[in-house]
């Protein structure tokens, strides 16, 4: 059964008198625990598709159904709540908070997601997730002292620590070399399978496609 449905989603931008149609009616269903890779040439609308699905921008038309609820009918606060508790994000850059240690980054996410854990449980959960991404030894480090690959691992840990139902990854390996990209993708795959997280991932890198369960190609604002 689909946990996430995108139904006839359209997006257009107006620049002066010109209206540009980025998404022309996209339909997509995502199943629980499945990794879907969204591929296609630049400008095909992949990232716009992902950000609309993730509730980071609104569609011009159509419906985005998550867990049976239509996100296009929700207000900003309702969407924020879903983003904080049900969604996880991994971006092209790690986007970590520069003044928080690795451990604090994850504790912040648990706090934002309003999980019903006490401080001790939160710390235990952080230790467990850091272990899963192989970053336990750097829990007290600040982002500035981490390598690109390490930062991305922390970003993944932050994205899944609150056990979201959905993970949105926008070119998660774009800033990494081939070896580190594979490591990161393996972590994403293992975690999503273990925790049964539904993942929608945008990528340009063909080497990452074997990690996906399903590959969807976009072209000119439509699914090919």
């Amino acid at each position: 059964m689909a946990i996430f449905e995108i139904d006839e989603v359209k997006k257009s931008f107006k620049t002066g008198d010109v209206t540009e149609q980025i998404l022309k009616g996209v339909d997509l269903e995502l199943k629980q625990g499945e990794i879907t890779a969204l591929v296609g040439p630049s400008g095909s609308g992949k990232s716009t598709m992902l950000t609309i699905a993730a509730g980071l921008q609104r569609a011009s038309g159509g419906h985005v159904m998550f867990d049976g609820k239509d996100m296009t009918q929700m207000n900003q606060e309702q969407i924020r709540k879903i983003r904080s508790s049900e969604f996880g994000f991994v971006f092209q850059s790690a986007h970590l908070v520069p003044f928080l240690t690795v451990e604090d980054q994850l504790l912040l996410m648990l706090d934002v997601a309003e999980t019903k854990m006490n401080k001790k449980q939160q710390k235990q959960e952080v230790a467990k997730v850091l272990d899963l991404v192989g970053m336990s030894h750097r829990k007290d480090a600040y982002p500035s002292s981490l390598s690109g690959g390490e930062r991305q691992r922390v970003a993944i840990a932050r994205a899944i620590i609150h056990q979201p139902k959905m993970l949105f990854a926008d070119e998660p390996t774009a800033s990494l070399d081939s070896k580190r990209s594979k490591e990161v993708m393996e972590i994403i795959r293992n975690l999503t399978k273990t925790l049964k997280i539904t993942t929608l991932m945008v990528t340009h890198d063909e080497e990452m496609l074997p990690y996906a369960d399903r590959i969807v190609t976009m072209k000119d604002g439509l699914l090919a």
Binding site: T51, F87, Q92, H95
Partner: protein
């Protein structure tokens, strides 16, 4: 709050700079406020030490007590009707000691009253600041307009006028020195004082201070400096937090993307503002109080704890407003825009 504190800990230098600026501006404000109060005391302690009441000047005096002359008959009637009332005259002048050293004083004379020392003819009661110049009880002082001599009868505390120590003398001696029979003003203490008396214009204590030449202008200039500094500190807060917020737009965007509430980001900023301001103010309050204790005795400086606390509260409010205005950027930040900007 924890996140706000962690940022302060990690970016010590940034917050130290802001704290130093707030400390310096607030310290300067306290010092100038102390000087303004000190000068105000120095200029008008004689009037400020009086209880609340009403001063009456001649209507033709153009609201200047120097030009006021109270009709003798009217004065007599008023003093009879209001038993606590007193007629006062003040004129600048000087006295010479036995070595012919001259001291500038404000000669004050008044009808019998509990508010002023009772001085007999050829006696003088001086402000205690003249003790520092070597004048003692029993000394003989002269004035070239006065045929007799003044014997120093005693000293009063903090009685100055127009930046000069007050010299209380008997009315007859005053009339001889200034060749005038009428008194300049009548003062009726308490709330029973009438709002208007025919032929006279009434002034509250505060209003009367403004009839002293230079008092209003001096205080206005100093108060303007004080409020200018307060406004500048508010602007500093706004500018500094604006700069910090501009630097952190990417971070705010990401935090919003992962679901952090805008109100939490505002709280973070307010906590930081409060922390910096309170620490800076504590330091400047402490230092200004120390300065108040060690300031040279000749320096007109008076900084009460109440003034300091009032100004501190104003600083906190101004800081809060400044930081909040700059924080409107946080509200405008779009998560998507921040993500597209790349690494912070």
């Amino acid at each position: 709050m924890q996140m706000a504190w962690k940022e302060v800990k990690k970016s010590k230098m940034k917050f130290l700079i802001l704290g130093s600026i707030i400390f310096l501006v607030s310290f300067l404000t306290f010092i100038i406020s102390g000087l303004a109060n000190g000068l105000s005391e120095d200029n008008a302690a004689l009037i400020k030490n009086l209880p609340n009441g009403q001063f009456y000047l001649n209507e033709d005096a153009d609201q200047t007590y120097n030009l006021s002359k109270i009709d003798e008959k009217q004065q007599e009637d008023l003093l009879k009707k209001y038993t606590d009332a007193t007629a006062i005259s003040i004129q600048m002048g000087f006295v010479n000691d036995a070595d012919d050293k001259q001291f500038s004083v404000a000669f004050v004379t008044a009808t019998d009253s509990k508010l002023f020392p009772n001085v007999k003819e050829n006696e003088i009661v001086l402000d205690s600041s003249l003790k520092d110049d070597g004048i003692k009880v029993g000394d003989i002082l002269k004035n070239n307009q006065f045929s007799g001599e003044f014997k120093v009868k005693g000293f009063t505390e903090k009685q100055t006028y127009s930046h000069a120590p007050v010299a209380f003398i008997n009315m007859k001696n005053y009339q001889e020195i200034y060749r005038v029979m009428e008194m300049q003003t009548v003062f009726i203490p308490g709330s029973d004082a009438p709002d208007s008396i025919k032929g006279l214009e009434s002034f509250s204590n505060k209003e009367f201070l403004n009839t002293i030449p230079s008092y209003g202008a001096e205080q206005m200039s100093l108060n303007m400096i004080i409020w200018f500094l307060v406004v500048i500190s508010g602007m500093l807060f706004a500018i500094f937090f604006y700069m910090m917020n501009v630097q952190k737009i990417g971070l705010y965007g990401i935090l919003k993307a992962i679901g952090v509430k805008t109100s939490k980001l505002f709280s973070m900023m307010w906590y930081q503002m409060l922390l910096i301001t309170v620490i800076s103010l504590l330091l400047s309050v402490g230092l200004s109080q120390v300065f108040s204790m060690v300031a040279p005795s000749g320096m007109p400086f008076s900084l009460t704890m109440q003034t300091t606390l009032t100004l501190s509260a104003v600083f906190l409010v101004i800081g809060f407003i400044g930081a909040t205005i700059s924080g409107f950027q946080i509200k405008k930040v779009e998560p998507l825009q921040a993500i597209q900007q790349g690494e912070m």
